[in-house]
Symmetry: C2
Subunit: 125 residues, 2 copies
DNA sequence: CAGGATCCTTTACGATACTG
DNA sequence: CAGTATCGTAAAGGATCCTG
């Protein structure tokens, strides 16, 4: 009989914790989700496009975050041999798998706002 | 004819961005999700219970994060009049609405690990 | 038991200037 | 256009000790 990979409860928890840590390492911070969200909406975008669309970000952060996302295979970067050079950023196929999470976070954020409003200022007819 | 609350595309985006910022303000950081995850699993827990279950956290962070979560109505704190005093932390009903997000993040984190493994070490038969 | 106070290190983030 | 370099601030996080 084949041996199965059976995990006890504590091991299952550790796996879950690592998974959450990994995912949050990618999503945490002030900009990553917004960059991904912007790229999820549109087509290929240049650096300047993103700088305009992602409200408030500066070149340093944008460049750093894009590198992180690229390393994580969520965003792809293609250099066009124009003059001056242009760069096309777009979301990868795998990056699209984040859409449900981002949408769910946005949805929860909105309902959260509403519920807070209600706590501070109970519903009126 | 009644006036409708119609939002243009830019406004919809702003709402979405605020929502994401709010949600991430609550979920970001090294500990919040893990504390919530722990409380989602079990029953009421004391401070020391959490200190044990949430791997690696110290008293300062735990105390601070719990206060944040309480302020956001996601965790409730009840002081029992024992000697010495004990405190019961538990997740609120509203806190439970985060479960889908946390589960999805954990699920994504696991599939992410697998996919990275595959990129670095392609599938063998 | 529950957590505050203190001190310290490390990231995160931001503004500005500059380069190929 | 697409960034990098530099400098500086603020926030996050951690270790340890202390108190009601």
């Amino acid at each position: 009989m084949k041996k199965r990979a059976v995990l006890n409860n504590s091991q299952v928890c550790q796996v879950r914790i690592s998974a959450i840590r990994d995912a949050m390492g990618i999503l945490s911070g002030k900009w990553k989700i917004h960059i991904l969200g912007t790229l999820l909406e549109g087509e290929k975008m240049g650096f300047m496009d993103l700088l305009r669309e992602v409200d408030g970000i500066g070149t340093k952060m944008l460049s750093k975050e894009l590198q992180d996302l690229e390393m994580n295979h969520l965003v792809s970067r293609v250099v066009r041999d124009t003059k001056p050079v242009t760069v096309e950023y777009s979301i990868t196929e795998y990056g699209h798998t984040l859409k449900p999470i981002i949408d769910e976070i946005a949805r929860w954020g909105m309902s959260y706002r509403d519920s807070i409003k209600e706590i501070q200022n109970p519903a009126q007819p």
